[in-house]
Point group: C2
Chain length 205, copies 2
DNA sequence: TAGATTGTTAATCGATTAACAATC
DNA sequence: TAGATTGTTAATCGATTAACAATC
């Protein structure tokens, strides 16, 4: 079983390597990537072990081959889409953010229950009514969802999503979701994050 | 030295306890809070040890006293504000999110270099020009910042913020910031988070 | 008392780092 | 070769959980 943190780092390495590729160099040493990623060189070499691609002591790692290996490891064979539920301020911001094309994962559909939003295209993404959600998920075989609804609605939305076949949730609502075994939830709790930052800002004189 | 994760959990407990208080009960057992927080009861008892408030085997923890202890531990004696840099889609969404009053920490000022935004009030928050930033930070003695500028600008913005006295940064730009010792950075890397979710959504059949 | 929960230590678990022979 | 880097194991570090006497 691959660990959560490793996957996060691989995703980060991929972005850094893509940037690096634009700058010219064909190969890279672990310590060079380490400096950019804010991670130890040993950690990086260790992470790369699971990719099945080896570097050489002389040249380090070939950027292109490394990128291929990471992509092969991280991405689905077929392209994979996500659905966003809750087209409020934050939801719209995320549609704009992931709609830029930089992102590897496309948000293929959005849902809301505000009649003013339903059947409109917002930041390039079609907004469906909540009742249409299960059908959209099944039709486009979506497995990943982003929850940006208000806290009191989040659990109900999560239940419906899982019922419709979603197996991974990026949750922006400030609630801990209860989900069955086999469903992965990543919480982006911005209030907690900001309080943490404020706390440590105060510690460091 | 208190650990990062502990602070995050305490912040979460506080929110859950505030909700609980609204529902009536005067006291709570560790295992009840555990169920809501998605954390083990032992972990919770361990976290509470640092607060200096003890529960009783008979009644558990008094909700009101527990809240007081957490607030005393987490919050600054004087109220503390934050500054947000980069009033794009995400920046505006965060101004709306933290402007609702639910949040304990107020965003007291925003900055951007778009003339259309400067000197306007956005979601209740005044937007200053970037050149005014250091003065605003010093005048209002702000120590916490939120970065929502595009990736290429993030490091330069961070440097200016730190120069002006910021000691904690909540970073939404997809870059690892290089900061001197004594400055705390929390990265909210949404692209990495979504890729992680998509990966594990695929694992769990 | 009997039973459940607390505070706290010891044991476990997992993740990171250090180290080093093998390699180019 | 000499020197630096790789893949990989062993050692370290830290965080979580289990356990249990003390308490109500």
């Amino acid at each position: 079983m691959v660990r959560e943190k490793t996957i996060g780092r691989l995703s980060l390495y991929r972005r850094l390597l893509t940037e690096l590729q634009g700058e010219g160099p064909k190969s890279v040493y672990s310590h060079q990537l380490a400096a950019r990623a804010g991670v130890s060189a040993a950690q990086i070499r260790r992470d790369f072990m699971i990719l099945g691609y080896s570097g050489s002591p002389a040249q380090g790692y070939e950027v292109a081959k490394l990128l291929d290996s990471i992509t092969h490891f991280l991405d689905a064979p077929e392209s994979q889409g996500a659905i966003l539920v809750g087209v409020g301020n934050l939801g719209r911001a995320l549609l704009a953010y992931f709609g830029t094309g930089r992102a590897r994962l496309r948000i293929e559909a959005a849902c809301d229950n505000d009649p003013k939003k339903i059947q409109r295209v917002i930041h390039g993404c079609h907004c469906y009514a909540m009742v249409e959600m299960p059908e959209v998920i099944r039709r486009q075989s979506i497995r990943t969802a982003i929850i940006t609804v208000p806290a009191p609605e989040a659990q109900a939305v999560a239940n419906d999503l899982i019922e419709a076949g979603i197996r991974g949730i990026l949750n922006f609502a400030p609630v801990r979701l209860h989900v069955p075994e086999g469903v992965f939830v990543e919480n982006m709790d911005m209030a907690v994050a900001l309080e943490k930052v404020a706390f440590f800002a105060r510690q460091h004189v």
